[in-house]
């Protein structure tokens, strides 16, 4: 057998990109609750209702995703024809928001499912496509909608029940970003693809705690593979662990000898004010999309942050597996960005 050298892979789970892969432009569309949150000013478009004059919440979610894609393309001065691939995913069965959005864009499409880790999964695949010389421009997008996710994963939106204090609120919104082999913007520098980690949590409201071990595993392996310390980054940002998951992630990494606390934050914690009744924080694909692509992308463009490690986390359960008493497996993908 001929030996094959993998040039770009580092350690067990990471790849280091050598070519320039920039995040050329980004766009975010936010729902009503998100528009009232502390990061509201960073979003490109705000909606004060969740239905957007569409016939269903599913169509409203797709509408937001389409809008985010067109806004990102518009900002970069590009059209869908300039894109080589469209990589998108969402939380709904058969990733319908992404597929239905792709129907209108007419770009070669790869639909992905990584639950709330979709953003970094998309960035990872897109980054490797550009690095490998398979694409010049890749559009990566993701969306989630509180009402569509509630209906699929939990109860009807108008059903009255008490949410436990550790529950999280699915974010309504969408985000899109263009990866390009040229242009100005934060550079995608390395990728650490996560393993599926199951902490044995069975409560579908306790997702932050279910996902924290996956996040900790990916971040730990990222540091080991690339021989870096937490202080290498200005910011380590997890996707949607919420208040409890964030603490657990810090504790797990501290027990393995990495103190990430000084420069660590979580999108789910940042997106809302405490008085907005979201309990432990935000969750959903759009959580990391809104916070990173809206807020921190701009901070990077303004050179306030130079090195960021973005780790979006996803819980890979379904309503079926939870009713069948299966535990909740989770995943986290990390990408590092530099400017």
């Amino acid at each position: 057998m001929q030996s094959y050298t993998v040039e770009r892979k580092i350690g067990k789970q990471s790849v280091l990109l050598e070519k320039t892969v920039t995040l050329l432009s980004s766009a975010t569309v936010a729902g009503p609750k998100e528009s009232l949150g502390p990061l509201s000013a960073f979003f490109d478009r705000h909606y004060d209702d969740t239905i957007l004059k569409e016939k269903s919440f599913e169509r409203a979610e797709c509408h937001m995703l389409e809008e985010a894609c067109h806004l990102a393309l518009g900002k970069a001065g590009l059209s869908p024809e300039d894109m080589d691939y469209f990589i998108a995913g969402d939380l709904l069965n058969q990733v319908i928001s992404a597929s239905f959005c792709a129907r209108g864009l007419a770009i070669p499409f790869l639909g992905i499912y990584g639950a709330c880790s979709t953003l970094t999964e998309g960035l990872s695949i897109g980054g490797m496509l550009v690095q490998g010389g398979f694409a010049r421009n890749v559009l990566v997008a993701t969306s989630s909608h509180n009402c569509t996710a509630e209906r699929q994963y939990r109860y009807p939106t108008e059903y009255g029940y008490q949410r436990p204090g550790y529950a999280q609120w699915t974010v309504t919104g969408a985000g899109a970003v263009i990866l390009s082999s040229e242009g100005e913007g934060p550079r995608l520098e390395s990728i650490t693809t996560g393993k599926v980690v199951d902490a044995g949590v069975k409560d579908p409201f306790d997702l932050g705690v279910a996902m924290a071990p996956a996040a900790a595993d990916t971040i730990y392996n990222h540091f080991i593979d690339l021989e870096r310390e937490p202080s290498y980054y200005n910011l380590i940002l997890t996707g949607d662990l919420g208040g409890m998951g964030k603490k657990l992630n810090e504790d797990i990494l501290a027990s393995k000898g990495f103190n990430i606390e000084p420069n660590y934050s979580d999108c789910g914690v940042l997106l809302y004010y405490p008085h907005q009744k979201v309990d432990a924080g935000g969750s959903g694909c759009a959580c990391s999309a809104l916070v990173f692509l809206g807020h921190f992308y701009k901070k990077m463009m303004e050179k306030e942050l130079h090195k960021v490690l973005l780790v979006a986390t996803g819980a890979l359960h379904s309503p079926t597996t939870y009713l069948q008493r299966e535990s909740i497996p989770a995943i986290a993908h990390a990408v590092s960005l530099e400017i």
Partner: protein, 108 residues
């Protein structure tokens, strides 16, 4: 307490005391269903908890919320089919329990 007020209202309107219970329950169900339709019920339930979920109001809410949620999938396969998806087990086990209790009381 609200139920008692409605009950007293019906008695004041001339409904015999023994029979006033039925229109009271019907009224409470109607109020819960209308509140669900206007999107207020779930906000109250987050605070009131079991106080509003356990009595007949919770049952009315589970049926109406499902009916609204699946209206887009059509009247027959959406609303009609999904309406009792949450409340169905209450009916099933209610009937089963009633049957067993009935059997026990018949034997004693």
């Amino acid at each position: 307490m609200l139920g008692q007020a409605i009950l007293n209202l019906f008695i004041a309107l001339g409904v015999p005391e023994q029979q006033a219970g039925n229109p009271t329950v019907a009224t409470v169900i109607l109020i819960a269903a209308v509140m669900t339709g206007f999107g207020i019920f779930d906000d109250i339930a987050r605070v009131a908890g079991a106080g509003i979920a356990v009595p007949v109001t919770g049952f009315a809410n589970s049926v109406t919320s499902m009916a609204i949620e699946f209206r887009r999938e059509g009247l027959v396969l959406g609303t009609g089919a999904k309406m009792f998806a949450l409340a169905g087990s209450i009916i099933v086990f209610g009937v089963v329990t009633a049957f067993i209790i009935g059997l026990i009381s018949a034997l004693i």
